[in-house]
């Protein structure tokens, strides 16, 4: 299964949790203590290894916080 690598632009995050509820693996979480430049608690990931790279979180994010990448599979 393809593995996703999430990158967050945390200073844009407003902590709305829309990505948290659409994640099928439930690995996204609002950060417990970190606060960003706008004063919101930004999003964080609890277990990156479980990410399947489905893109739902990025699709749902209104603020363009999330970018998703995957490892290149070498051609056989």
């Amino acid at each position: 299964m393809a593995k996703g690598i999430l990158k967050f632009n945390k200073d844009r995050c407003k902590g709305c949790e829309l990505c948290v509820v659409v994640c099928p693996k439930m690995i996204l979480k609002i950060h417990d203590y970190e606060v960003n430049a706008m004063g919101y608690r930004p999003i964080s990931v609890t277990d990156m290894d479980q990410c399947i790279g489905c893109g739902s979180c990025a699709l749902m994010c209104p603020d363009g916080v999330i970018s998703i990448y995957t490892e290149e599979v070498p051609a056989k």
């Binding site: 893109g55 749902m60 994010c61 970018s67």
Partner: protein, 248 residues
């Protein structure tokens, strides 16, 4: 590393002023993704309305023009006729398009003006503080209807997409929602078709986007999405109301 998703270059790298969880950000992104994928970012001129999206020209990386309240279709008609080779779109909310601008949008559609309108319907006036809009649902509380909208006083909510679908000049009319990832993908397809209609100069194209307003609905962002699915979609059914054969 291979890219799966990156924020579109059609959006400027700045934070928006929208409240947390406001789906305006998603609607902005979908429009800009479509324009980027079609290679039209340098060819497009947007018209911003009055409402929460009044500052959308600060976020959308295309040429934009501001218009008076409700008059975006009139401004877009002028731009479209003066520059027939450009792609012109208006991005309007329900307070702007469905109440004060109802005359402009009906006549722009009636004349078959060849631009695209993205109509963001969140069933309330957002910017001015949650007053009742023409699209506010029966029983929905607002600051000017604290006991909820009543049919005998304010009438039934206005279904703009159905109204415009009866006009011959509006060749593409579709209603979409932004409450789930599946609906967001469908919304992007609808916006893509609307711009395809304009690229082929077939006539007026219109996409109604059901959106949320967590602040003025008095709900948190996640509850707002559920409220949209439970209350708005039954009254404003999703789907295509009119589409020309050329873009199918």
């Amino acid at each position: 590393m291979k890219k799966i998703f990156e924020y579109t270059k059609g959006m400027l790298p700045v934070s928006t002023h929208y409240c947390p969880g406001c789906t305006h950000g998603i609607a902005h992104r979908l429009v800009m993704e479509v324009l980027e994928e079609r290679g039209l970012l340098g060819e497009s001129i947007g018209v911003a309305p009055i409402g929460c999206s009044i500052l959308s020209h600060n976020y959308m990386n295309v040429d934009m023009c501001e218009s008076a309240h409700g008059r975006a279709p009139a401004v877009a008609s002028g731009i479209r006729r003066a520059m027939p080779d450009k792609i012109v779109f208006t991005y309007q909310g329900d307070g702007d398009l469905a109440s004060i601008g109802a005359g402009e949008i009906v006549h722009a559609a009636h004349r078959g003006e060849k631009f695209t309108t993205i109509f963001v319907n969140n069933a309330i006036y957002g910017m001015t503080g949650g007053q009742m809009a023409p699209t506010t649902l029966i029983g929905q509380k607002s600051t000017t209807g604290i006991e909820g909208r009543k049919k005998e006083i304010s009438g039934m909510p206005l279904r703009v997409a159905e109204m415009l679908a009866t006009i011959d000049g509006a060749v593409f009319v579709e209603r979409v929602a932004l409450n789930t990832p599946a609906n967001i993908r469908k919304a992007k397809k609808a916006i893509d078709k609307a711009f395809a209609v304009q690229e082929k100069r077939l006539g007026f194209s219109f996409v109604e986007v059901l959106s949320t307003c967590p602040t003025n609905w008095g709900l948190n962002p996640v509850e707002s999405l559920k409220w949209l699915g439970k209350n708005m979609i039954p009254y404003y059914p999703l789907g295509n109301l009119r589409s020309p054969e050329e873009v199918e």
